[in-house]
Symmetry: C2
Subunit: 338 residues, 2 copies
């Protein structure tokens, strides 16, 4: 069996270019006992992948040059040498940017296609949904009547943050790029207010949308959104930090003035909590609750989700660039195989 792979060819400077990737078709090895042969159905594209393309120190090792780009996938088992899985089973895997893969059965999780669409294991019921749930409930801890602000709000993390905030009785204010996304925040996801970060008077509009200030800012973008949010924070506000997508493609140190002393002063005078996290730290304590709560909320209609599916593995580099730039509308997925 052959696999078509997208490998990291060069460490991107700024936005990843086509030449930072190369395509190859390789023969997969024969299955060992306990292994399964997978055909990839969906590949998830997520902002953290930009970090893996870089050699800068981070919470996870970078992808080595020449290696297949990492990524979560939903796959069909097409051959099995493991008792727990049979051909036709659908599993969550971490097989990366390729069409087929060999994996240990112990490293995949079987999905139930009856209980939810299989693609949701990469989005609202997967890592992005759990990032929203864990970060908001463990760090943000929204109280009834408080105001929660999140950007990239039609994305898989942001849309879940806003909807969970409302379930907890808080007011949800979403930030997104362009009128279509802002309309979806109000009509589709039930946010209390939506603010377009492309508007020339964005900072003023955000201030108007949070008349009582901001108690929780769920930080997944950084950049100019964070700059507009900061003056509006209330005393004891909490800032879970799960991503900084606006700065992932930065190639040089940002110009001055140095805003760090001012931000530290604000942390001090407002007794702010700023807390970075990776969702996996909450798995032991929260994942079971998450799967139960989120499945129930989806069934009950209180959490909706949107997917942005691009067909064809070969389109992954361009779809990835589009996602970093906010040109996707919903969870970015590549439909790899039918």
């Amino acid at each position: 069996m052959k696999s078509t792979q997208i490998r990291l060819a060069a460490r991107p400077e700024g936005e990843p270019k086509d030449s930072d990737f190369d395509f190859a078709t390789v023969d997969l090895p024969e299955l060992d006992s306990g292994q399964v042969l997978l055909r990839v159905l969906y590949l998830s594209l997520d902002p953290y992948m930009r970090g893996r393309m870089s050699s800068a120190k981070s919470y996870a090792a970078p992808v080595e040059l020449g290696d297949v780009m990492v990524g979560a996938t939903v796959c069909e088992v097409i051959e099995s040498r493991a008792d727990s899985l049979a051909p036709g089973d659908v599993v969550l895997s971490y097989s990366g940017w390729q069409s087929h893969a060999v994996a240990s059965a112990r490293h995949v999780r079987k999905l139930d296609p009856e209980s939810a669409p299989i693609s949701t294991a990469l989005g609202v019921l997967g890592m992005p949904g759990f990032t929203a749930y864990g970060g908001l409930l463990e760090i943000g801890r929204p109280q009834p009547g408080e105001t929660v602000v999140v950007a990239a709000a039609t994305g898989p993390v942001g849309s879940a943050v806003g909807q969970i905030a409302r379930i907890k009785g808080a007011r949800a204010v979403g930030i997104a790029g362009g009128p279509d996304k802002c309309r979806a925040l109000l009509d589709e996801f039930g946010f209390d207010a939506a603010v377009d970060h492309r508007a020339p008077d964005f900072a003023e509009r955000l201030a108007e949308a949070v008349p009582d200030g901001i108690d929780v800012y769920f930080e997944n973008v950084g950049g100019k959104v964070a700059e507009a949010v900061t003056p509006l924070l209330n005393r004891f506000a909490r800032i879970p930090v799960c991503g900084l997508v606006a700065q992932y493609n930065a190639t040089e140190l940002p110009e001055g003035p140095d805003r760090l002393p001012g931000f530290m002063r604000q942390i001090l005078t407002l007794s702010l909590t700023v807390r970075g996290f990776i969702q996996d730290e909450f798995i032991p304590t929260r994942q079971a609750d998450f799967l139960r709560d989120m499945s129930g909320w989806i069934r009950g209609g209180s959490v909706r989700y949107r997917e942005d599916v691009v067909a064809g593995l070969e389109n992954a580099p361009e779809a990835f660039r589009a996602m970093l730039a906010g040109r996707n509308f919903g969870k970015a997925l590549i439909r790899v195989g039918d």
Copy 2:
């Protein structure tokens, strides 16, 4: 009865000048029922006072121009119209930079001169000691074997932070200015290591002093100390922020590059917790524990303290400048009356 007062005459630009204060002698009003007449024995000088001299938004209102500078004091009651207090009693008050004051008996706390030297109510057994205790135990949460770093480490907050860290089984690394203070950290306060921030190779020495990285950085200074600490932080490190004395006299925005995006990235990739606090938020839950624990530790010899007493209210402005610049050696106090 007359009181000699130091009033705020102008909002300081940078380091407070003599001309930012003026001296006056005023007649105090007759006592109302429930009030006491106080003779100030000790005035506490603390970095937060620099914030009160400024009109910038903060957690407390600024001192108005023409008003007596605020501050905690230990006083003798010389006349009383309150049942709870008699002449000769010693109390903790908040009567500010003056020699005498009228206060409501309900707004002062009677001290027991037998149980501890009365000046400690302004230091190790007062607000600075409680800042160390509350911030370290509620936010820093040092675990046995972890490394705790604190600057201004011979000061009333820093010395308590290091000693409490050791009581909790952590390794305490203190930063101070000059060899005398560093020696005191090791010989007097029992820190595991001391680093002189005036050394030209300060950053390298700090790195050597924390071979296992930093788990808790108790932030009370900011500036170049924070800059040297940041690259040494471990995953899940905690940073309680109680002060930023190095930047209190700053008059303009610091030059670039803008370090905020880099710090946010570090918060994200290391899952850091940065949490500003004012000690009073912990009073309801922790103050009783603090008074019991700290008194016991002082009696048992596991917590020591050092005071830097300057005689004469007229020297308060210069002593305050000296404290902001780190020229004091221990808790800064003005001996106002004998």
